[in-house]
Point group: C2
Chain length 228, copies 2
DNA sequence: CCAAAAGTGTTTGCTCTACACCCATGG
DNA sequence: CCATGGGTGTAGAGCAAACACTTTTGG
């Protein structure tokens, strides 16, 4: 890393974000439709170039805000993709992030000149994606599912207050399987990561108590060891 | 990501590698001593610039080969560090990898003009490091320990054939705690990821059977769920 | 009073953990 | 024959999974 190495040609660096949310009882991903070549008209992950004065995480947060209007969201670096030919225009390395948006958060999209349209797609029905974005989205989904199993990341997809049935349903949607109601309630209450509020929510049937996430909660569980 | 954005100034992109091995019954990390400013004379992780025609993984493998002479090693992307001021020379984004080298592999170092010296340091006794490399090394160690708990990555640090005591000792060194001999053996044999060879190794005391890793083994265990 | 969703404990099986002695070889 | 490390099984405790009925509200 001596000084003269700086004369080498440099790759361009972007961030791309896999934005997840719950909508209509499905896990969905935000995609934008590209306005310009390459892949004009194709769907792609939101993203853009990293500015010189901002960190990678700041770049991801800025792009997320530009696409959704949201300033607060769970954001986690996923993986960096750098195959030499992944972008036909030249060498572009992208640092992929994934974001979790609370269900029902009001998005205000301010599409820039780059974007003709933004839309949510269910994760199990994504259209063909530009570049290597299908691979990135698939990896993000794997990571999200895995993460749910040993952490409390699921709360990032819920509004501030929620019923036990709603959170169970969140887990069922993401994991794609049914869970036992009594076991689920016992374990989530014993884990001590949520606390009851004074409110109840009325709908059809008996009203349900509302809970909130305890932000001070230690939300990771130690993975079971392969070896003792 | 339209074409005109390519006129933006670009960051430099490097790879840095946290190379782990077992030496003298300790987990050790390879460091190089910098020959040129900034941080001339300080210890740092091996690494270098990503060339335009190679992938990130290829860049990491090339740098690893240049520093150690090893062409085959376990290599995994760790995290990408991109704080604007992490390198005083300007904007340098680094994609960090970690590598696992089998114990006793013969290294041939071919230090380049950039490196005055390369040395192994025990992970619990690293010298002060240049740039943000201390943070990177600490994260790599955390990831390695975590990885050992739910995968069979430990085998990458062992020679092709090994005794059960040797592999148990590997786990004890990395995890930093003693493990029960009978429980360890039962579980690793039931996991079906190693198979006995015909060879025995004689030393002091009763000879021990040699085992080898089954490369077709499914070496990950499902993490215990936080919720049922 | 009926439909709809909320809420609540116990039993059973399995997995993890703790623990101590005999075996094979070399010197 | 003795020192050294290799190799082996079992019992008890704690955790996870399966399972059905009662309660509260709105219409």
């Amino acid at each position: 890393m001596s000084a003269h190495t700086y004369e080498y040609p440099r790759p361009a660096v972007t961030v791309d974000i896999v934005v997840f949310t719950l909508r209509e009882n499905r896990l969905q991903v935000l995609l934008i439709q590209r306005a310009e070549p390459p892949h004009a008209g194709a769907w792609a992950l939101p993203g853009g170039f990293v500015h010189m004065e901002e960190s990678l995480e700041e770049a991801a947060a800025r792009e997320l805000a530009e696409e959704t209007g949201l300033r607060q969201a769970y954001l986690e670096q996923l993986y960096t993709y750098g195959a030499p030919l992944r972008d036909p225009r030249g060498r572009v390395i992208t640092v992929a992030y994934f974001a979790l948006i609370p269900a029902g958060a009001s998005l205000q999209q301010s599409p820039t000149y780059e974007v003709t349209q933004a839309r949510w797609f269910p994760v199990d029905a994504l259209p063909p994606l530009a570049f290597d974005h299908a691979e990135i989205a698939a990896y993000a989904l794997r990571r999200l599912r895995y993460k749910l199993e040993y952490s409390a990341a699921g709360f990032e997809l819920l509004p501030e207050e929620f019923t036990l049935t709603e959170i169970q349903s969140t887990y069922e949607i993401i994991l794609g399987e049914q869970l036992d109601k009594r076991n689920f309630r016992r374990r989530i209450l014993e884990a001590n990561i949520i606390e009851p509020t004074e409110q109840m929510r009325s709908g059809e049937g008996r009203p349900a108590r509302l809970y909130r996430y305890r932000p001070d909660a230690v939300a990771e569980v130690k993975a079971r060891r392969l070896f003792p």
